[in-house]
Symmetry: C2
Subunit: 243 residues, 2 copies
DNA sequence: TTGCTTTGTGTCCAAACGGCACGAAGGCCG
DNA sequence: CGGCCTTCGTGCCGTTTGGACACAAAGCAA
Protein backbone atom coordinates (compact mmCIF):
# COMPACT_ATOMS: atom_id res chain seq x y z
CA UNK A 1 0.00 0.00 0.00
CA UNK A 2 2.96 2.30 0.49
CA UNK A 3 3.43 2.55 -3.25
CA UNK A 4 -0.13 3.61 -3.63
CA UNK A 5 0.29 6.19 -0.92
CA UNK A 6 2.77 8.14 -2.94
CA UNK A 7 -0.17 9.01 -5.12
CA UNK A 8 -2.30 10.36 -2.32
CA UNK A 9 -0.54 13.69 -2.25
CA UNK A 10 -2.69 15.74 -4.48
CA UNK A 11 -5.87 17.68 -4.09
CA UNK A 12 -8.75 18.47 -6.29
CA UNK A 13 -10.91 21.47 -6.59
CA UNK A 14 -13.93 22.60 -8.48
CA UNK A 15 -14.18 25.86 -10.36
CA UNK A 16 -17.45 27.28 -11.43
CA UNK A 17 -18.20 29.56 -14.34
CA UNK A 18 -21.40 31.24 -13.26
CA UNK A 19 -23.25 32.76 -16.17
CA UNK A 20 -25.88 35.43 -15.90
CA UNK A 21 -27.74 37.42 -18.51
CA UNK A 22 -28.48 41.07 -18.06
CA UNK A 23 -30.31 43.00 -20.71
CA UNK A 24 -28.44 41.87 -23.76
CA UNK A 25 -25.20 41.13 -22.05
CA UNK A 26 -23.85 37.74 -21.06
CA UNK A 27 -21.98 37.97 -17.79
CA UNK A 28 -19.78 35.87 -15.57
CA UNK A 29 -19.47 36.13 -11.82
CA UNK A 30 -15.85 36.52 -10.74
CA UNK A 31 -14.22 37.00 -7.39
CA UNK A 32 -11.24 39.09 -6.54
CA UNK A 33 -8.64 37.01 -4.77
CA UNK A 34 -7.73 38.26 -1.33
CA UNK A 35 -4.86 35.90 -0.72
CA UNK A 36 -1.81 34.59 -2.47
CA UNK A 37 -1.26 33.23 -4.99
CA UNK A 38 -2.61 35.62 -7.57
CA UNK A 39 -3.70 38.01 -4.83
CA UNK A 40 -5.76 40.86 -6.20
CA UNK A 41 -6.55 39.15 -9.47
CA UNK A 42 -9.98 38.16 -10.68
CA UNK A 43 -10.66 34.46 -10.60
CA UNK A 44 -13.40 31.93 -11.00
CA UNK A 45 -15.15 30.99 -7.80
CA UNK A 46 -13.97 27.58 -6.68
CA UNK A 47 -12.86 25.57 -3.73
CA UNK A 48 -11.12 22.41 -2.75
CA UNK A 49 -13.39 19.41 -2.62
CA UNK A 50 -13.91 17.99 0.83
CA UNK A 51 -12.70 14.43 1.27
CA UNK A 52 -16.19 13.08 1.76
CA UNK A 53 -17.96 15.26 -0.74
CA UNK A 54 -19.06 14.36 -4.25
CA UNK A 55 -17.68 16.66 -6.88
CA UNK A 56 -21.11 17.70 -8.12
CA UNK A 57 -22.01 18.55 -4.55
CA UNK A 58 -18.88 20.61 -4.18
CA UNK A 59 -19.71 22.61 -7.28
CA UNK A 60 -23.21 23.26 -5.99
CA UNK A 61 -21.80 24.27 -2.63
CA UNK A 62 -19.43 26.78 -4.16
CA UNK A 63 -22.32 28.28 -6.03
CA UNK A 64 -24.58 28.44 -3.04
CA UNK A 65 -21.95 29.90 -0.74
CA UNK A 66 -21.40 32.69 -3.19
CA UNK A 67 -24.90 33.44 -4.39
CA UNK A 68 -27.25 31.80 -1.94
CA UNK A 69 -28.85 29.97 -4.85
CA UNK A 70 -29.77 26.31 -4.89
CA UNK A 71 -31.29 24.08 -7.51
CA UNK A 72 -29.54 25.85 -10.27
CA UNK A 73 -28.57 24.46 -13.63
CA UNK A 74 -25.06 23.04 -13.26
CA UNK A 75 -23.08 21.10 -15.80
CA UNK A 76 -19.66 19.59 -15.52
CA UNK A 77 -17.41 20.49 -18.42
CA UNK A 78 -14.06 18.83 -17.93
CA UNK A 79 -11.04 18.44 -15.72
CA UNK A 80 -7.91 20.55 -15.95
CA UNK A 81 -4.84 18.82 -14.73
CA UNK A 82 -1.59 20.28 -15.93
CA UNK A 83 1.16 19.50 -13.45
CA UNK A 84 2.09 23.09 -12.77
CA UNK A 85 -1.30 24.72 -12.95
CA UNK A 86 -1.35 25.48 -9.22
CA UNK A 87 1.64 26.95 -7.39
CA UNK A 88 1.02 25.28 -4.06
CA UNK A 89 1.02 21.72 -5.28
CA UNK A 90 -0.67 19.28 -7.53
CA UNK A 91 -4.25 20.38 -7.78
CA UNK A 92 -6.52 19.08 -10.44
CA UNK A 93 -9.61 21.12 -10.92
CA UNK A 94 -12.92 20.13 -12.34
CA UNK A 95 -14.74 22.85 -14.22
CA UNK A 96 -18.45 23.42 -14.09
CA UNK A 97 -20.65 26.10 -15.43
CA UNK A 98 -23.97 27.19 -14.05
CA UNK A 99 -26.80 29.33 -15.29
CA UNK A 100 -28.47 31.70 -12.89
CA UNK A 101 -31.24 34.21 -13.19
CA UNK A 102 -29.23 37.27 -12.49
CA UNK A 103 -32.08 39.06 -10.75
CA UNK A 104 -32.11 36.35 -8.10
CA UNK A 105 -28.52 37.00 -7.21
CA UNK A 106 -28.02 38.82 -3.97
CA UNK A 107 -24.84 39.40 -2.09
CA UNK A 108 -24.56 36.92 0.75
CA UNK A 109 -22.35 36.97 3.81
CA UNK A 110 -19.89 34.59 2.24
CA UNK A 111 -19.53 36.80 -0.76
CA UNK A 112 -18.87 39.88 1.32
CA UNK A 113 -15.55 38.47 2.37
CA UNK A 114 -14.23 38.16 -1.12
CA UNK A 115 -15.36 40.76 -3.54
CA UNK A 116 -17.61 39.31 -6.19
CA UNK A 117 -18.69 41.04 -9.36
CA UNK A 118 -20.39 40.36 -12.64
CA UNK A 119 -18.18 40.86 -15.65
CA UNK A 120 -19.37 41.09 -19.19
CA UNK A 121 -18.02 38.10 -21.06
CA UNK A 122 -16.67 40.35 -23.74
CA UNK A 123 -14.51 42.30 -21.30
CA UNK A 124 -12.61 39.84 -19.21
CA UNK A 125 -8.91 40.30 -18.73
CA UNK A 126 -6.23 38.00 -17.47
CA UNK A 127 -7.53 35.78 -14.71
CA UNK A 128 -5.72 33.89 -11.98
CA UNK A 129 -4.35 30.38 -12.57
CA UNK A 130 -5.48 28.83 -15.85
CA UNK A 131 -8.91 30.31 -15.40
CA UNK A 132 -9.02 31.95 -18.80
CA UNK A 133 -8.63 28.56 -20.37
CA UNK A 134 -11.33 27.15 -18.12
CA UNK A 135 -13.65 30.01 -18.91
CA UNK A 136 -13.17 29.52 -22.62
CA UNK A 137 -13.90 25.83 -22.40
CA UNK A 138 -17.06 26.46 -20.42
CA UNK A 139 -18.24 29.15 -22.78
CA UNK A 140 -17.70 26.84 -25.71
CA UNK A 141 -19.64 24.15 -23.96
CA UNK A 142 -22.44 26.55 -23.18
CA UNK A 143 -22.65 27.54 -26.83
CA UNK A 144 -23.01 23.97 -27.76
CA UNK A 145 -25.44 22.94 -25.04
CA UNK A 146 -27.70 25.88 -25.63
CA UNK A 147 -28.25 24.73 -29.19
CA UNK A 148 -29.13 21.22 -28.15
CA UNK A 149 -31.16 21.64 -25.03
CA UNK A 150 -33.63 24.24 -23.86
CA UNK A 151 -31.42 25.54 -21.09
CA UNK A 152 -31.35 29.16 -22.18
CA UNK A 153 -34.45 29.78 -20.11
CA UNK A 154 -32.40 29.19 -16.98
CA UNK A 155 -30.89 32.60 -17.58
CA UNK A 156 -34.16 34.46 -18.02
CA UNK A 157 -36.87 35.42 -15.56
CA UNK A 158 -39.90 33.13 -15.53
CA UNK A 159 -41.77 35.51 -17.79
CA UNK A 160 -39.92 36.84 -20.78
CA UNK A 161 -40.46 38.26 -24.20
CA UNK A 162 -39.37 36.67 -27.43
CA UNK A 163 -37.04 39.56 -28.05
CA UNK A 164 -35.31 38.92 -24.75
CA UNK A 165 -34.95 35.30 -25.66
CA UNK A 166 -33.52 36.18 -29.02
CA UNK A 167 -31.03 38.58 -27.48
CA UNK A 168 -29.98 35.84 -25.11
CA UNK A 169 -29.24 33.46 -27.93
CA UNK A 170 -27.44 36.16 -29.82
CA UNK A 171 -25.22 36.87 -26.82
CA UNK A 172 -24.37 33.24 -26.27
CA UNK A 173 -23.89 32.26 -29.86
CA UNK A 174 -22.15 35.51 -30.68
CA UNK A 175 -24.15 35.98 -33.82
CA UNK A 176 -27.15 37.87 -35.08
CA UNK A 177 -30.43 36.17 -35.70
CA UNK A 178 -33.32 37.12 -37.92
CA UNK A 179 -36.30 38.14 -35.85
CA UNK A 180 -38.99 36.52 -37.94
CA UNK A 181 -37.14 33.30 -38.50
CA UNK A 182 -36.18 33.02 -34.86
CA UNK A 183 -39.77 33.42 -33.75
CA UNK A 184 -41.06 31.02 -36.34
CA UNK A 185 -38.56 28.43 -35.20
CA UNK A 186 -39.04 28.80 -31.47
CA UNK A 187 -42.81 28.99 -31.57
CA UNK A 188 -43.03 25.98 -33.85
CA UNK A 189 -41.45 23.91 -31.09
CA UNK A 190 -44.45 24.41 -28.82
CA UNK A 191 -42.25 24.77 -25.78
CA UNK A 192 -43.51 28.17 -24.77
CA UNK A 193 -46.80 29.09 -23.26
CA UNK A 194 -48.29 32.39 -24.20
CA UNK A 195 -49.13 33.94 -20.87
CA UNK A 196 -51.63 36.36 -22.37
CA UNK A 197 -49.91 39.15 -20.49
CA UNK A 198 -47.89 42.01 -21.79
CA UNK A 199 -44.72 43.62 -20.69
CA UNK A 200 -45.25 46.60 -18.40
CA UNK A 201 -43.41 49.82 -17.81
CA UNK A 202 -41.85 50.18 -21.22
CA UNK A 203 -42.10 53.36 -23.24
CA UNK A 204 -43.25 51.67 -26.40
CA UNK A 205 -45.52 48.93 -27.54
CA UNK A 206 -45.25 46.25 -24.86
CA UNK A 207 -44.34 42.75 -25.90
CA UNK A 208 -46.20 39.59 -25.19
CA UNK A 209 -44.85 37.52 -22.27
CA UNK A 210 -44.07 33.85 -22.53
CA UNK A 211 -42.94 31.12 -20.17
CA UNK A 212 -41.03 27.94 -20.80
CA UNK A 213 -42.99 24.80 -20.07
CA UNK A 214 -40.65 22.08 -18.80
CA UNK A 215 -43.37 19.47 -18.53
CA UNK A 216 -44.32 20.06 -22.12
CA UNK A 217 -40.68 19.67 -23.08
CA UNK A 218 -40.38 16.36 -21.27
CA UNK A 219 -43.45 15.12 -23.01
CA UNK A 220 -42.23 16.13 -26.43
CA UNK A 221 -38.88 14.48 -25.79
CA UNK A 222 -40.68 11.30 -24.88
CA UNK A 223 -42.41 11.53 -28.26
CA UNK A 224 -39.08 11.79 -30.04
CA UNK A 225 -38.71 15.54 -30.20
CA UNK A 226 -35.20 16.86 -30.29
CA UNK A 227 -34.48 20.48 -29.46
CA UNK A 228 -32.06 21.96 -31.92
CA UNK A 229 -31.07 25.35 -33.15
CA UNK A 230 -28.92 25.05 -36.18
CA UNK A 231 -25.59 26.70 -36.12
CA UNK A 232 -26.05 29.82 -38.15
CA UNK A 233 -24.34 29.34 -41.44
CA UNK A 234 -21.55 31.80 -41.73
CA UNK A 235 -22.39 34.30 -44.38
CA UNK A 236 -19.84 34.01 -47.12
CA UNK A 237 -17.91 37.17 -47.68
CA UNK A 238 -18.31 38.01 -51.37
CA UNK A 239 -14.72 39.19 -51.51
CA UNK A 240 -13.50 35.71 -50.71
CA UNK A 241 -15.27 34.21 -53.69
CA UNK A 242 -13.84 33.82 -57.11
CA UNK A 243 -10.37 32.90 -55.94
CA UNK B 1 -0.95 24.89 5.52
CA UNK B 2 -2.00 22.04 7.78
CA UNK B 3 -5.60 22.68 6.93
CA UNK B 4 -4.78 22.44 3.28
CA UNK B 5 -2.94 19.22 3.89
CA UNK B 6 -6.07 17.44 4.98
CA UNK B 7 -7.11 17.73 1.37
CA UNK B 8 -4.02 16.10 -0.03
CA UNK B 9 -5.20 12.62 0.69
CA UNK B 10 -6.78 11.62 -2.53
CA UNK B 11 -5.62 10.23 -5.82
CA UNK B 12 -6.47 10.66 -9.44
CA UNK B 13 -6.71 8.12 -12.11
CA UNK B 14 -7.50 8.13 -15.75
CA UNK B 15 -9.70 5.57 -17.44
CA UNK B 16 -9.71 5.10 -21.14
CA UNK B 17 -12.48 3.82 -23.32
CA UNK B 18 -10.61 2.53 -26.34
CA UNK B 19 -12.84 2.15 -29.33
CA UNK B 20 -12.08 0.02 -32.33
CA UNK B 21 -14.12 -0.88 -35.37
CA UNK B 22 -14.08 -4.32 -36.84
CA UNK B 23 -16.16 -5.12 -39.86
CA UNK B 24 -19.43 -3.60 -38.85
CA UNK B 25 -18.95 -3.94 -35.14
CA UNK B 26 -17.95 -1.20 -32.73
CA UNK B 27 -15.71 -2.59 -30.03
CA UNK B 28 -14.14 -1.57 -26.77
CA UNK B 29 -10.89 -2.85 -25.36
CA UNK B 30 -11.33 -4.13 -21.82
CA UNK B 31 -8.98 -5.75 -19.39
CA UNK B 32 -9.70 -8.49 -16.93
CA UNK B 33 -8.71 -7.43 -13.46
CA UNK B 34 -6.14 -9.70 -11.85
CA UNK B 35 -6.24 -8.12 -8.43
CA UNK B 36 -8.73 -6.94 -5.89
CA UNK B 37 -10.97 -5.10 -5.83
CA UNK B 38 -13.25 -6.45 -8.55
CA UNK B 39 -10.77 -9.23 -9.25
CA UNK B 40 -11.76 -11.21 -12.31
CA UNK B 41 -14.14 -8.61 -13.63
CA UNK B 42 -13.77 -6.74 -16.87
CA UNK B 43 -12.77 -3.12 -16.51
CA UNK B 44 -11.67 -0.14 -18.50
CA UNK B 45 -7.93 0.22 -18.80
CA UNK B 46 -6.75 2.95 -16.50
CA UNK B 47 -4.09 3.90 -14.02
CA UNK B 48 -3.30 6.34 -11.30
CA UNK B 49 -1.81 9.56 -12.53
CA UNK B 50 1.80 10.11 -11.52
CA UNK B 51 2.39 13.14 -9.35
CA UNK B 52 4.38 14.89 -12.04
CA UNK B 53 2.37 13.81 -15.01
CA UNK B 54 -0.26 15.77 -16.91
CA UNK B 55 -3.58 14.02 -17.10
CA UNK B 56 -3.61 13.98 -20.89
CA UNK B 57 -0.18 12.40 -20.77
CA UNK B 58 -1.38 9.78 -18.34
CA UNK B 59 -4.24 8.85 -20.62
CA UNK B 60 -1.87 8.53 -23.56
CA UNK B 61 0.47 6.43 -21.46
CA UNK B 62 -2.27 4.02 -20.44
CA UNK B 63 -3.15 3.62 -24.06
CA UNK B 64 0.40 3.07 -25.19
CA UNK B 65 1.24 0.62 -22.43
CA UNK B 66 -1.69 -1.48 -23.45
CA UNK B 67 -1.62 -1.25 -27.21
CA UNK B 68 1.79 0.11 -28.14
CA UNK B 69 0.07 2.86 -30.07
CA UNK B 70 1.03 6.52 -29.97
CA UNK B 71 -0.39 9.58 -31.62
CA UNK B 72 -3.88 8.29 -31.39
CA UNK B 73 -7.04 10.33 -31.21
CA UNK B 74 -7.75 10.94 -27.56
CA UNK B 75 -10.47 13.11 -26.06
CA UNK B 76 -11.22 13.85 -22.46
CA UNK B 77 -14.85 13.37 -21.59
CA UNK B 78 -15.35 14.21 -17.93
CA UNK B 79 -14.41 13.45 -14.38
CA UNK B 80 -16.17 10.95 -12.15
CA UNK B 81 -15.89 11.73 -8.50
CA UNK B 82 -18.46 10.09 -6.31
CA UNK B 83 -17.09 9.68 -2.81
CA UNK B 84 -17.46 5.93 -2.68
CA UNK B 85 -16.66 5.05 -6.25
CA UNK B 86 -13.40 3.36 -5.29
CA UNK B 87 -13.09 0.96 -2.35
CA UNK B 88 -9.51 1.78 -1.41
CA UNK B 89 -9.99 5.49 -0.88
CA UNK B 90 -10.97 8.67 -2.52
CA UNK B 91 -10.07 8.33 -6.15
CA UNK B 92 -11.39 10.66 -8.75
CA UNK B 93 -11.07 9.39 -12.24
CA UNK B 94 -10.93 11.29 -15.45
CA UNK B 95 -12.46 9.54 -18.40
CA UNK B 96 -11.05 9.62 -21.90
CA UNK B 97 -11.94 7.83 -25.02
CA UNK B 98 -9.64 7.02 -27.87
CA UNK B 99 -10.10 5.81 -31.40
CA UNK B 100 -7.72 3.23 -32.77
CA UNK B 101 -7.42 1.42 -36.04
CA UNK B 102 -8.07 -2.03 -34.74
CA UNK B 103 -5.76 -3.65 -37.25
CA UNK B 104 -2.85 -1.77 -35.73
CA UNK B 105 -3.50 -3.25 -32.35
CA UNK B 106 -1.07 -5.92 -31.34
CA UNK B 107 -0.63 -7.53 -27.99
CA UNK B 108 2.28 -5.95 -26.18
CA UNK B 109 4.23 -7.24 -23.21
CA UNK B 110 2.34 -5.00 -20.84
CA UNK B 111 -0.93 -6.35 -22.07
CA UNK B 112 0.15 -9.96 -21.58
CA UNK B 113 0.14 -9.47 -17.86
CA UNK B 114 -3.48 -8.49 -17.69
CA UNK B 115 -5.75 -10.13 -20.16
CA UNK B 116 -7.05 -7.65 -22.66
CA UNK B 117 -9.82 -8.28 -25.11
CA UNK B 118 -12.05 -6.46 -27.55
CA UNK B 119 -15.70 -6.56 -26.63
CA UNK B 120 -18.53 -5.65 -28.91
CA UNK B 121 -20.19 -2.56 -27.50
CA UNK B 122 -23.55 -4.23 -27.72
CA UNK B 123 -22.47 -7.12 -25.49
CA UNK B 124 -20.85 -5.66 -22.45
CA UNK B 125 -21.89 -6.87 -19.05
CA UNK B 126 -21.31 -5.50 -15.61
CA UNK B 127 -17.91 -3.86 -15.34
CA UNK B 128 -15.78 -3.10 -12.31
CA UNK B 129 -16.20 0.14 -10.34
CA UNK B 130 -18.48 2.66 -12.05
CA UNK B 131 -17.06 1.74 -15.40
CA UNK B 132 -20.40 1.10 -17.02
CA UNK B 133 -21.36 4.65 -16.29
CA UNK B 134 -18.06 5.89 -17.67
CA UNK B 135 -18.42 3.79 -20.77
CA UNK B 136 -21.90 5.13 -21.40
CA UNK B 137 -20.75 8.71 -21.04
CA UNK B 138 -17.88 8.15 -23.44
CA UNK B 139 -20.07 6.42 -25.97
CA UNK B 140 -22.52 9.29 -25.83
CA UNK B 141 -19.72 11.74 -26.35
CA UNK B 142 -18.41 9.74 -29.26
CA UNK B 143 -21.82 9.77 -30.87
CA UNK B 144 -21.90 13.47 -30.59
CA UNK B 145 -18.33 14.18 -31.66
CA UNK B 146 -18.56 11.94 -34.67
CA UNK B 147 -21.40 14.04 -36.00
CA UNK B 148 -19.48 17.26 -35.59
CA UNK B 149 -15.97 16.40 -36.56
CA UNK B 150 -14.47 14.06 -39.09
CA UNK B 151 -12.99 11.72 -36.52
CA UNK B 152 -14.65 8.55 -37.73
CA UNK B 153 -11.72 7.96 -40.04
CA UNK B 154 -9.53 7.36 -37.01
CA UNK B 155 -11.24 4.01 -36.69
CA UNK B 156 -10.76 2.94 -40.28
CA UNK B 157 -7.68 1.86 -42.21
CA UNK B 158 -6.13 4.54 -44.39
CA UNK B 159 -7.92 3.19 -47.43
CA UNK B 160 -11.56 2.37 -47.03
CA UNK B 161 -14.73 1.98 -49.00
CA UNK B 162 -17.79 4.14 -48.64
CA UNK B 163 -19.73 1.14 -47.45
CA UNK B 164 -17.25 0.60 -44.63
CA UNK B 165 -17.57 4.23 -43.69
CA UNK B 166 -21.31 3.99 -43.70
CA UNK B 167 -21.28 0.89 -41.53
CA UNK B 168 -19.01 2.71 -39.12
CA UNK B 169 -21.44 5.57 -38.75
CA UNK B 170 -24.31 3.18 -38.41
CA UNK B 171 -22.54 1.35 -35.61
CA UNK B 172 -21.70 4.50 -33.72
CA UNK B 173 -24.98 6.28 -34.19
CA UNK B 174 -26.96 3.08 -33.70
CA UNK B 175 -29.15 3.80 -36.65
CA UNK B 176 -29.50 2.85 -40.27
CA UNK B 177 -28.54 5.18 -43.04
CA UNK B 178 -29.67 5.35 -46.62
CA UNK B 179 -26.84 4.36 -48.93
CA UNK B 180 -27.46 6.91 -51.64
CA UNK B 181 -28.12 9.78 -49.29
CA UNK B 182 -25.09 8.95 -47.19
CA UNK B 183 -22.81 8.93 -50.20
CA UNK B 184 -24.29 12.08 -51.59
CA UNK B 185 -23.71 13.84 -48.29
CA UNK B 186 -20.19 12.60 -47.63
CA UNK B 187 -18.93 13.10 -51.14
CA UNK B 188 -20.39 16.59 -51.32
CA UNK B 189 -18.10 17.59 -48.47
CA UNK B 190 -15.03 17.05 -50.59
CA UNK B 191 -13.12 15.53 -47.72
CA UNK B 192 -12.34 12.25 -49.40
CA UNK B 193 -9.91 11.57 -52.16
CA UNK B 194 -10.79 8.92 -54.65
CA UNK B 195 -7.71 6.74 -54.75
CA UNK B 196 -8.57 5.27 -58.10
CA UNK B 197 -7.99 1.82 -56.64
CA UNK B 198 -10.41 -0.94 -55.92
CA UNK B 199 -10.86 -3.30 -53.07
CA UNK B 200 -9.11 -6.63 -53.55
CA UNK B 201 -9.80 -10.15 -52.47
CA UNK B 202 -13.54 -9.94 -52.25
CA UNK B 203 -15.80 -12.41 -53.94
CA UNK B 204 -17.97 -9.84 -55.59
CA UNK B 205 -17.73 -6.53 -57.32
CA UNK B 206 -14.92 -4.68 -55.54
CA UNK B 207 -15.62 -1.22 -54.21
CA UNK B 208 -13.72 1.94 -54.87
CA UNK B 209 -11.21 2.94 -52.19
CA UNK B 210 -11.08 6.38 -50.65
CA UNK B 211 -8.87 8.18 -48.17
CA UNK B 212 -9.59 11.03 -45.80
CA UNK B 213 -7.64 14.18 -46.57
CA UNK B 214 -6.87 16.04 -43.33
CA UNK B 215 -5.14 18.93 -45.07
CA UNK B 216 -8.16 19.45 -47.24
CA UNK B 217 -10.33 19.44 -44.12
CA UNK B 218 -8.20 22.06 -42.43
CA UNK B 219 -8.43 24.24 -45.48
CA UNK B 220 -12.18 23.94 -45.72
CA UNK B 221 -12.54 24.76 -42.04
CA UNK B 222 -10.46 27.87 -42.57
CA UNK B 223 -12.94 28.82 -45.29
CA UNK B 224 -15.84 28.44 -42.88
CA UNK B 225 -16.79 24.86 -43.55
CA UNK B 226 -18.40 23.00 -40.70
CA UNK B 227 -18.57 19.21 -40.70
CA UNK B 228 -21.98 18.03 -39.66
CA UNK B 229 -24.06 14.94 -40.00
CA UNK B 230 -27.55 15.64 -38.90
CA UNK B 231 -29.04 13.42 -36.32
CA UNK B 232 -31.28 11.10 -38.21
CA UNK B 233 -34.82 12.10 -37.60
CA UNK B 234 -36.61 9.33 -35.83
CA UNK B 235 -39.14 7.79 -38.12
CA UNK B 236 -42.57 8.38 -36.70
CA UNK B 237 -44.44 5.20 -35.96
CA UNK B 238 -47.74 5.40 -37.87
CA UNK B 239 -49.53 3.76 -34.97
CA UNK B 240 -48.74 6.75 -32.79
CA UNK B 241 -50.43 9.16 -35.15
CA UNK B 242 -54.03 10.09 -35.11
CA UNK B 243 -54.33 10.36 -31.33
C1' DT C 1 -21.78 -18.84 -69.46
C1' DT C 2 -24.36 -18.49 -65.75
C1' DG C 3 -25.22 -17.07 -61.16
C1' DC C 4 -24.16 -14.68 -57.05
C1' DT C 5 -23.18 -10.64 -54.39
C1' DT C 6 -22.28 -5.95 -53.78
C1' DT C 7 -21.48 -1.64 -56.08
C1' DG C 8 -22.82 2.76 -57.77
C1' DT C 9 -26.04 5.95 -59.27
C1' DG C 10 -30.64 9.99 -60.03
C1' DT C 11 -35.22 11.76 -59.38
C1' DC C 12 -38.77 13.63 -57.05
C1' DC C 13 -41.38 15.46 -53.34
C1' DA C 14 -41.60 17.59 -48.80
C1' DA C 15 -39.70 20.24 -45.27
C1' DA C 16 -36.67 23.61 -43.53
C1' DC C 17 -34.02 27.68 -44.21
C1' DG C 18 -33.13 32.32 -44.85
C1' DG C 19 -33.79 36.86 -46.74
C1' DC C 20 -36.74 40.57 -46.61
C1' DA C 21 -40.53 45.30 -45.06
C1' DC C 22 -44.32 47.41 -43.06
C1' DG C 23 -48.61 48.29 -40.47
C1' DA C 24 -50.04 48.21 -35.53
C1' DA C 25 -49.70 48.99 -30.63
C1' DG C 26 -48.81 51.61 -26.84
C1' DG C 27 -46.45 55.36 -24.14
C1' DC C 28 -44.91 60.02 -24.08
C1' DC C 29 -45.02 64.71 -24.84
C1' DG C 30 -46.67 68.99 -26.21
C1' DC D 1 -56.18 64.84 -27.89
C1' DG D 2 -53.13 64.39 -31.65
C1' DG D 3 -48.82 63.45 -33.33
C1' DC D 4 -44.51 61.19 -32.67
C1' DC D 5 -41.49 57.73 -31.38
C1' DT D 6 -40.14 53.09 -30.46
C1' DT D 7 -40.67 48.35 -30.55
C1' DC D 8 -43.82 44.58 -31.69
C1' DG D 9 -45.58 41.14 -34.64
C1' DT D 10 -46.32 39.12 -38.84
C1' DG D 11 -46.05 36.23 -44.47
C1' DC D 12 -44.17 35.25 -48.68
C1' DC D 13 -41.20 33.21 -51.73
C1' DG D 14 -37.09 31.36 -53.79
C1' DT D 15 -33.40 28.11 -52.51
C1' DT D 16 -31.48 24.40 -50.13
C1' DT D 17 -31.55 20.29 -47.79
C1' DG D 18 -33.52 15.93 -46.41
C1' DG D 19 -35.28 11.57 -47.25
C1' DA D 20 -37.67 7.90 -49.80
C1' DC D 21 -36.94 4.87 -53.37
C1' DA D 22 -34.93 0.60 -57.50
C1' DC D 23 -32.09 -1.27 -60.85
C1' DA D 24 -28.36 -2.03 -64.12
C1' DA D 25 -23.39 -3.14 -64.06
C1' DA D 26 -19.08 -5.01 -62.18
C1' DG D 27 -16.34 -8.62 -60.73
C1' DC D 28 -15.65 -13.27 -58.91
C1' DA D 29 -16.60 -18.20 -58.66
C1' DA D 30 -18.07 -22.39 -60.19
Amino acid sequence: MSEVNTFFKSAFSVDNVIFGFDDGDLKVLLIKRGTSPYKGMWALPGDLVYPNEDIDTAAARVLEELTGLRNVYLEQVKAFGKVDRHPIGRVITIAYYSLVKISNYTVTPASFARKAQWHSISAIGKLAFDHNEILDACFERLKQSVRTRPIGFELLPPKFTLTQLQHLYEAILETELDKRNFRKKILSMNLLVDLGENQEGVAHRPARLYAFDPARYEQLVAEGFHFELKESRRKMNPASLGG
